[in-house]
Symmetry: C2
Subunit: 540 residues, 2 copies
């Protein structure tokens, strides 16, 4: 990897792309969107197929995007990352100085993994997990009454919550008979109260996830859960698992049934396929399902090393995103899965993308001169069609959209209404939205006019299986880091969360005794916020 | 109401605001954010207090925003709407030509309601509901086996789903003993499959919501549920309720236990406090709780008629939003509740706001020359702090933020860790975020610099009770329609969803027999989307 490589602002291809962006491909022109265009703009990757004829691109744009990717050494950087390069750093500044090896924890299907040491560590944890799950299954590990565990309560926040939660919600259809899962994340005590009210604690494992073992929210929620276990006459040590860094305060057999390790070289938001997600997923759908999930992710990781955009699905998505965001200047990205099982996946991507790429300095410490990560948001279709799609079609904000859909559903329960199944209606609606956004429609009534030229792409697989879910996760993780390489930023740290933490800690100190706080903005803010409200107060 | 009133693009105050926007108040300047500023920028409304010192405004900005509101006759239009003016129309074009009377259905606490006829209709439905709930409670209405109903399954989509769902999730802490609720919305058959797998159908009422009685998704899901009821040996007519327009195909006592009516003059996304939300909410938390909820909404509706922005909380929020969106040019809005119970409220607002104000023509049919509704998104704090807040603090996209928080939690279960409760941690974190976004922080390390000047406001109440939830809903509904009046658009129709529907219907026809489809884009898109994928397919 050549350290003198370009980033977006300095790459010669950017000049060409800026010029092309003055007249992007017009999807609304007569005959612009024809069948040949559909056929030509297809990219397969693992179980997924990407259709992107409805983006505002032509061959010149795609060529220039390939050149930009080459000039920014996007694929080289990705390969270096997978082989253990210290990519989580800012030159010349105090920074985390770490590797980013989330791909290593699923690189277990080849004889020569990209980074053997990290993969060896991942295999040790997977073996521990396999044994543990077998002991649970066979009743070698039970509660104090000798009864089997049937539920799992996952306690974590941020990367230790949204990744696992989105994956597990997506794959609930595959859960082992009788098994169930719940989550607690928020420091809001009502989050724990509600989850605990629904939980059969006696038969529940509690999976507590914190790399440092000191995360504020997770510590508070762990304590709430432990108090409830004790109040129910249960021994917390028989129920609680620690997913944590080796040697952290949580890595303590006196307090936990088992420890599974996570490592510094995997950032929270990229940790879904590590022990952070694997323990709960493995308990819920079984070890074989977990391995299928990892295989899906590994398949994408390897094919993403292909330098030719046309054969590299995540790279294509990354560069289309750069085109929409940096050259067509669209500030947000909607991810719209046509699958209710993916209802939390946009929230996970919001985290993974915005925490990775919501940055303002380059890896050399300079202020960026281009936009970095977009605002990412979304909800499942067809629900969204009856909610915010009005703005997508006729609003003044243009929103590039990534649709995700499946030919078959998970449960196999369906019914015919008016001669078509619900699954067919779902799938047809997704395709129709991409066409409608692209082509628009004129009308004599100005309120029924659609300007069109609203770009989107479609990511399609046969069915949302564990294998497909692993691939989907890896597609997005890879897309995100590739965009970060293109922007020349560090997609692996999160210094931006520190200031809020520090101020919260100060305010919390004052909250317990406002009068002791020094006069100033913080005291006044607390007083105004806590001031007894004038009106009839909040009744009940 | 003077029909010659201004809209944002033509209002003289816009010129002043554009000038002020060139140098908005600098929150990062030495001493800019002082205690007096906090005290001065407070607005109380019902159970809520708005703190907005952390917006980029000064007295001149606020004066100009008040003038803009006056010039656009925002409050006059709001009052006219409440009194039955036909505000849902486009002059000179075919349009819905309807009133927008969502406020009438809760205007039941005064002797002289703003629009007596609609309120009288609402009272009839409320009386029907009260009697029905009493009969359920007393066991006068039961399942065929004579057992009481304990669960309710709410089937609807869009406005018939997200409003009710966000309210009911928010108030689940107040549910009557033994009562529970579930939802089905998506045409994805897996949505129904999962909900039904968790439902004790024998003791469940099914609340089916569709104004027209013909909504595609809801018809399909109703049929799925009816088939499951019959398969379980249950009589659908004893379980199914119809929430629909009088005389719709669903208004049929042969098929439903009861009908409750919704009216043309209430749009789906504004229908949370009508029978659309009331039946499920009333069943879950009881009739008295429902009335408290309505009282909270009615309180806000009346105070929103105050022309002075300083005394009108929803108007203040509306005009601050216009400032951020139209003058400071920020394209999105984040709504971040520090309350896990509000986890679906941002999704509801996303619908209510984006479907209302994602428009490109004015009420006179002219193309707008200013931006209309922003992209609205959000997730609960503190979860979001560990996810996307990195971008809020250090990204290149600036996101105006509305925080929502409560001094007390709902369940009253908490624990002390390091001397403070989880509730205190939650509340302190919210206040700290507003301060951190506003003031920023310099640092020798460029990666630890925070530019600040990221605007936000705080909406605070004592506790999230039914009364407070009603008020919160009305604050946002009012804010949204007031912004629509300011922009001169029709916030009550949704023509933008029609094109996708029409194309979906065509594609669905071809999907059942692709070979019969004419050659062209649609056929090719279907073929490419359904093409057997090359790779090892989606394993199971």
């Amino acid at each position: 990897m050549n350290n003198e490589h370009c980033i977006l602002a300095t790459a010669p291809a950017s000049v060409i792309l800026r010029e092309l962006a003055r007249h992007p491909f017009d999807l609304t022109a007569e005959g612009a969107l024809r069948s040949k265009r559909i056929t030509r703009h297809v990219c397969d990757g693992g179980p997924f197929r990407l259709l992107y004829a409805t983006e505002r691109i032509d061959e010149r744009t795609l060529d220039a995007l390939q050149t930009l990717a080459d000039e920014c050494q996007v694929v080289e950087m990705f390969k270096a990352m997978r082989r253990g390069a210290v990519v989580n750093k800012i030159e010349g500044c105090a920074s985390e100085n770490r590797q980013a090896l989330h791909t290593a924890c699923r690189d277990i299907f080849v004889d020569a993994p990209a980074e053997p040491k990290a993969t060896a560590q991942a295999k040790i944890e997977l073996d521990k997990l396999r044994c543990f799950l077998t002991e649970i299954e066979q009743g070698a590990i039970t509660n104090a009454a000798g009864e089997k565990f049937t539920g799992i309560l996952h306690v974590g926040i941020g990367g230790s919550d949204l990744g696992p939660r989105s994956i597990i919600e997506a794959l609930k259809a595959y859960r082992l008979p009788g098994r169930d899962s719940r989550f607690i994340a928020n420091v809001d005590p009502d989050d724990a109260a509600r989850a605990l009210a629904e939980t059969d604690l006696a038969h529940t494992l509690v999976c507590i996830v914190s790399k440092s073992g000191t995360t504020l929210e997770t510590r508070a929620n762990e304590q709430l859960v432990r108090e409830r276990l004790r109040a129910a006459g249960l021994d917390p040590k028989r129920h609680c698992l620690a997913i944590t860094g080796q040697g952290s305060p949580m890595d303590n057999p006196a307090n936990y049934l088992r420890s599974f390790y996570m490592y510094d070289y995997i950032g929270g938001r990229y940790s879904g396929a590590s022990m952070v997600g694997a323990v709960t997923l493995g308990f819920l759908i079984g070890y074989d399902g977990l391995i299928d999930f990892l295989r899906g992710a590994a398949t994408i990781d390897w094919l993403a090393e292909e330098p030719d955009m046309k054969k590299n699905l995540p790279l294509t998505m990354a560069m289309l995103g750069v085109w929409n965001h940096n050259f067509l200047d669209f500030p947000t990205l909607a991810v719209l899965p046509y699958s209710q099982a993916l209802h939390r996946f946009p929230a996970h991507l919001q985290q993974c993308d915005m925490e990775s790429n919501g940055k303002s300095i380059t890896t050399t410490g300079a202020t960026v001169s281009h936009q970095t990560g977009p605002v990412v948001w979304g909800e499942p279709g067809t629900n969204g069609q009856h909610a915010f799609y009005q703005l997508l079609h006729q609003g003044t904000e243009i929103v590039p959209t990534e649709f995700i859909g499946f030919i078959h559903n998970q449960y196999g329960q369906d019914c015919l209404v008016d001669g078509t199944s619900s699954q067919q209606k779902l799938f047809a609606n997704m395709l129709a939205q991409a066409l409608a956004l692209a082509t628009g429609k004129d009308d004599a009534n100005p309120n029924r006019r659609f300007s069109g030229n609203r770009p989107s792409c479609l990511l399609i697989a046969d069915r949302l299986t564990p294998y497909a879910m692993g691939a989907l996760l890896a597609i997005y993780e890879t897309k995100i880091v590739m965009q970060g390489f293109c922007w020349g930023i560090n997609s692996f740290d999160q210094e931006g969360v520190q200031l809020g933490k520090a101020l919260a800690s100060r305010l919390l100190g004052f909250l317990t005794d406002i009068n002791a706080a020094p006069d100033g903005v913080e005291k006044e803010l607390l007083q105004q916020a806590l001031h007894p409200l004038n009106e009839e107060k909040t009744r009940t």
